[in-house]
């Protein structure tokens, strides 16, 4: 079971954003997408989530093309955690997480299964204690958890997260990544766009690196996170080592000219 995309090209305002991109993500694994700003990572995610229609190519989820699916069906299958938290009304946390059930619920509101999924998602993201809090009064770390809970409430088999660590402190970064890893271990596909190379090396099973709207490298962590490829992708020299607890450390040390 996989999420595959073949020959995706996307042009916006005469600028080629994605240039004939192909790839494959597997279920039960965490795939991290790396790449410099403007490499096309977010655009690829929005194509995969069905928000943008690429000019060419096709996207196949578990042997079905997403372009044939109706919006709600696609929403049940693929959950997207967008880049910037973007909340407009001061609703309570439980309601926010409940919104994640929209692709499932019928015209008559939430049923017992919906409430159960919401409770489960809130528990998985440690939001149960925040249930009655107003969302605009949360701290950045709490909000990050709540928004992740919203996606998990939809029980998508594929979870696409666009920079979920932005504006989180290190402890909360570990929390969120652990939750995403658990979700993958439960048999779902998880795709994360990240900027932190060390966090990427720690949490990824597979890594895909993008540059200028194309895929520079894809494969297992040890094959891809090497100084040569990092230099091509980011134009920086990185130092790769191992921490005391055996985890990888990937530290940019200087810009290459």
């Amino acid at each position: 079971m996989s999420l595959a995309f073949e020959n995706i090209s996307l042009t916006l305002r005469n600028r080629k954003i994605l240039n004939d991109v192909s790839g494959l993500f597997k279920r039960g694994r965490v795939t991290v997408i790396l790449g410099a700003n403007g490499a096309g990572k977010s655009s690829l995610l929005s194509c995969l989530a069905g928000l943008r229609q690429p000019q060419t190519g096709r996207i196949i989820v578990d042997d079905r093309s997403i372009h044939e699916m109706e919006g709600k069906e696609r929403g049940r299958l693929i959950g997207l955690l967008p880049q910037r938290p973007d909340i407009h009304w001061n609703i309570d946390v439980k309601t926010v997480v409940g919104l994640g059930r929209l692709p499932h619920s019928g015209r008559w509101g939430m049923n017992a299964a919906d409430h159960e999924a919401v409770a489960k998602a809130m528990e998985a993201t440690d939001c149960t204690g925040l249930a009655e809090r107003k969302v605009l009064r949360l701290s950045g770390g709490e909000l990050g958890r709540v928004l992740l809970g919203r996606v998990l409430a939809g029980e998508p088999q594929w979870l696409l997260a666009d920079e979920p660590l932005a504006s989180l402190d290190p402890a909360h970064q570990f929390d969120v990544l652990d939750k995403l890893k658990n979700y993958a271990e439960a048999g779902n596909g998880v795709v994360i766009v990240l900027h932190d190379l060390t966090q990427a090396a720690r949490c990824a099973d597979d890594i895909m690196i993008m540059k200028d709207g194309a895929i520079l490298a894809a494969g297992s962590r040890d094959d891809v996170i090497v100084p040569d490829i990092m230099a091509q992708a980011y134009g920086v020299e990185v130092q790769i080592s191992t921490s005391d607890n055996g985890e990888p450390l990937v530290v940019p040390v200087r810009r290459l000219r």
């Binding site: 069905g50 919006g71 910037r84 407009h88 008559w108």
Partner: protein, 327 residues
């Protein structure tokens, strides 16, 4: 249903009781006080009730509900608590249609003015969707609304300044201020069904408005069709506001104030704000219309002016509250 959940049930119930009491009171008050015991007789007071006050009260409630719900939808759709139904330019184009009929002196037959107003609203809605295109973009849409309302507004001013007789000028200006004076069952029969259909469209936007709370990307990833939402909002606002303007002229601030007042009690969720906004809008308008009838003045205070007079202190209070929160 999400807009009828347990949390908002008590709110809707309380508002509904308030509305019924206010409507009954509004039947009794006016230039002459008619006690409920005389409502069902066959003398003059019963005639006042059945032919003047009942239609006026029903029309007031329908228009208040229409404006309240349209305002709540607009605020949810534009995700802006200061949006009002006028943003789409529907009320301005509807008013332009009505003014056109007054300009040419067509208003001699009672039904022609509201029909012209509805035609104006229809043309406005068509232009709006034509200008905004098929992208579903909020900014394009808002800009199209601004273009439309300023164009319709300036054409209305042009008509006033070019009016053939001072009488026509007075008539146009007075009509524009909005009122429920001397409305009959004919106005009810024309406006209420259109408002009801429009409100169904508005209610249907509820779930998509909820999803938009998380931003456009998140909403679309959950299967919300932004273009459909836009259509429903335009048709719903067009029908409700178009019919309201056709029946009573421009009555501002209801659509802006009411969702504001109701929102904290409804838990801020856009779909939960829709129904209480409708009931509270009806309550406010019927109450205000009763008040203008009993205020001691030479001629009756126009309802549109009364609402604008309410608007300024309301926003003043809001401003002071926000200033306190900032300090």
């Amino acid at each position: 249903m999400s807009w009828l959940d347990r949390k908002t049930l008590w709110l809707n119930g309380l508002l509904l009781i308030g509305l019924i009491v206010t409507m009954l009171l509004s039947l009794a008050v006016g230039k002459v006080w008619v006690a409920p015991s005389a409502w069902l007789g066959d003398d003059l007071s019963a005639l006042i009730i059945m032919e003047l006050r009942v239609p006026r009260t029903i029309l007031g409630a329908a228009i208040g509900a229409a404006l309240g719900m349209a305002g709540a939808t607009m605020q949810g759709y534009l995700r802006n608590p200061l949006a009002d139904p006028g943003v789409f330019g529907v009320s301005a184009s509807s008013a332009l249609g009505a003014v056109t009929s007054l300009y040419f002196g067509f208003a001699l037959t009672a039904w022609l003015l509201p029909v012209f107003a509805l035609i104006g609203a229809g043309i406005g809605m068509a232009l709006l969707t034509l200008l905004a295109g098929r992208s579903g973009s909020l900014i394009l849409f808002t800009l199209a609304g601004v273009i439309l309302s300023s164009l319709a507004g300036s054409l209305t001013s042009l008509m006033i300044s070019l009016a053939p007789t001072p009488f026509a000028t007075t008539e146009i200006v007075t009509w524009l201020m909005g009122a429920l004076t001397d409305r009959s069952w004919d106005d009810v029969k024309l406006a209420v069904p259109i408002i009801a259909i429009g409100m169904l469209f508005l209610i249907a936007t509820g779930r998509s408005l909820d999803a938009l709370t998380l931003g456009e990307d998140a909403a679309r990833s959950m299967g919300v069709n932004i273009l459909h939402l836009q259509w429903f909002a335009v048709i719903g606002v067009g029908l409700t506001v178009g019919a309201s303007v056709a029946a009573a002229g421009i009555i501002g601030f209801v659509g802006l104030i009411v969702p504001h007042l109701v929102r904290p009690f409804a838990g801020h969720r856009p779909s939960a704000v829709l129904l209480p906004s409708a009931i509270a809008g009806a309550l406010l308008l019927v109450g205000a219309d009763s008040a203008v009838r009993i205020l001691p003045s030479v001629s009756e205070l126009r309802l549109g002016i009364a609402m604008s007079l309410l608007g300024a202190p309301f926003f003043m209070a809001l401003l002071f509250k926000m200033r306190r929160e900032l300090n």
